[in-house]
Symmetry: C2
Amino acid sequence: MKKINEVIAEIGDLDSDLMGKAQERLDNLTKPQGSLGRLEELAKLIVGITRKESPTLKNKVIFTLAGDHGVTEEGVSAFPKEVTPQMVYNFLKGGAGINVLANYVGARVIVMDAGVAVDLEPHPDLVIKKINYGTKNITKGPAMTREEAIRSIEAGIEVFENEFKKGIDIVGTGDMGIGNTTPSSAIAAVFTGKSIETLTGKGAGVDDKGLKNKIEIIKRALEVNKPDPKDAIDVLSKIGGFEIGGLAGIILAAASRRIPVVIDGFISGAAALVAYHLEPKVKDYMLAGHCSVERGHKIILDHMGLKPILDLDLRLGEGTGAALSMSIIDAGVKIMTQMATFKSAGVSEKVKQ
Amino acid sequence: MKKINEVIAEIGDLDSDLMGKAQERLDNLTKPQGSLGRLEELAKLIVGITRKESPTLKNKVIFTLAGDHGVTEEGVSAFPKEVTPQMVYNFLKGGAGINVLANYVGARVIVMDAGVAVDLEPHPDLVIKKINYGTKNITKGPAMTREEAIRSIEAGIEVFENEFKKGIDIVGTGDMGIGNTTPSSAIAAVFTGKSIETLTGKGAGVDDKGLKNKIEIIKRALEVNKPDPKDAIDVLSKIGGFEIGGLAGIILAAASRRIPVVIDGFISGAAALVAYHLEPKVKDYMLAGHCSVERGHKIILDHMGLKPILDLDLRLGEGTGAALSMSIIDAGVKIMTQMATFKSAGVSEKVKQ
């Protein structure tokens, strides 16, 4: 827990002075004030986060963390659990959705094994920080020990710190883990206090019967484990996942280094909740990449006061929505740093009314 | 009118066979079916429009058309009309919002004088197709003659055709013209039948009093001119603008060449309405880049059955929203053409339920 506490202690406030300066600059660009809406908001936020007057978002990194879930025994997913390692290999070969979108927006993808149920072949682009061979079945007891929960967060911090040394300007979160919408819904229910029904969706594609079963399973998991909403580590350990803990660590570490962190979909949202309930300040460093189709994602974002950038009916995870929205965030920064001012362009300003 | 009719005659149907093949390919990619939502929809639409199984959107072009409006005499805009030519020079120097965003997404910007009130300095990147020195004040009579309306559309067709020869894969529409939300609201009212109040917003930033005045001015313009909603050329000539006519021409020409055309904000929406009421089929070739803050834009898009890609509180025009959304459309195409299939990646498919 020491490493986590040290990271949390480093999370400071946004730089409101520099954000004021950014607003002034934005207001002097050759456009009606505020007419580039969220692009302007995002640019200003990036200034506040990074403490740089003219930030650049050249080094984009997506962390895609994989983990397995014992609860798949209960038939909560439409896909077999072998798909988790198969998709990790797909990431490493560059054939997955996240590879295509990250490549398109100029981001590199760091793939981490946080707790896949089988040993993976070593690969130069694979970071292995396996906490355990998948979580335990949460309908029968805790997903992991408290110590494993802490280690999963620390593993995320470590993978971030390692990449930070190489240069990072903006980070996106991503996940892969068959069954992981189930613990994510459970986490969301504990932290937001909303009903499991409103927070549980069809994940990768169960049918109506499957959805009903999934809701029952989550109810049972909460009854059996009684996670304490005031203790985020308790919640993570009892009903979480290793990739969820790892992503929470990445989010905290990014905030401590003043690096903007783009939250992807539902699972990343659950990880963000864990980070937020460890240290609410971390929220200032988060940008919500998109609004997922998965029920409950909107509730998670509202709980933290985050407004999604994109709304494109995505529900894939992997970091795909985060990657795509990075191009919007970067566009906002470019508007702020590259547009001409009324003065420099010799354009008349608004008439006083 | 001959040129317009020839272009309209060339507008065919989408290729539904190829769209079916695209759907099949999308369904075999390593992701739950449909989980990339609108990215998949957009990719399939691009296949149907272009009739290419593996389209590429390398050559992106934004057409930004400028024109002045006699109705500015009535105090409908927060900016003086000199800003129209000043902004054209800003486009040519690369300092405007559209320059920054087009550059970011890899699009080239074609600037056209469709009817600026003053003569502009020649510039290698400026296409001069001035129909007249601004429109007439629409509270006192028609904006332009019927012949000028036809010529403005034909000018758009010509500028498109000229660029088409150099290679175009996707087109975006953009506008610049102080006062041009006023004719756009008037056009929207005539074609959609909705009230002027619901269709009129603050444009570049008039205050509440200014908005009230603007609504009165539009009402007067419709009373004085009585445009016939069944005759799109009549509507354009009586209450339109030269840049609006030009953009309608570009939209028709793009559809006739099977080039996807991304509609920007409110003024582009009004131009799209003119094109759509000349030939409803053109709608299949349009993509709505974003939903503008300007009241009425949503109503225009709904009228044509278009769903915006982005919703970022933009209200600048120039083609900025179109440029930005091109990167989303292109991302969809890249998903379709670059992702691995379940078979090629050796990933297990969904379990039969």
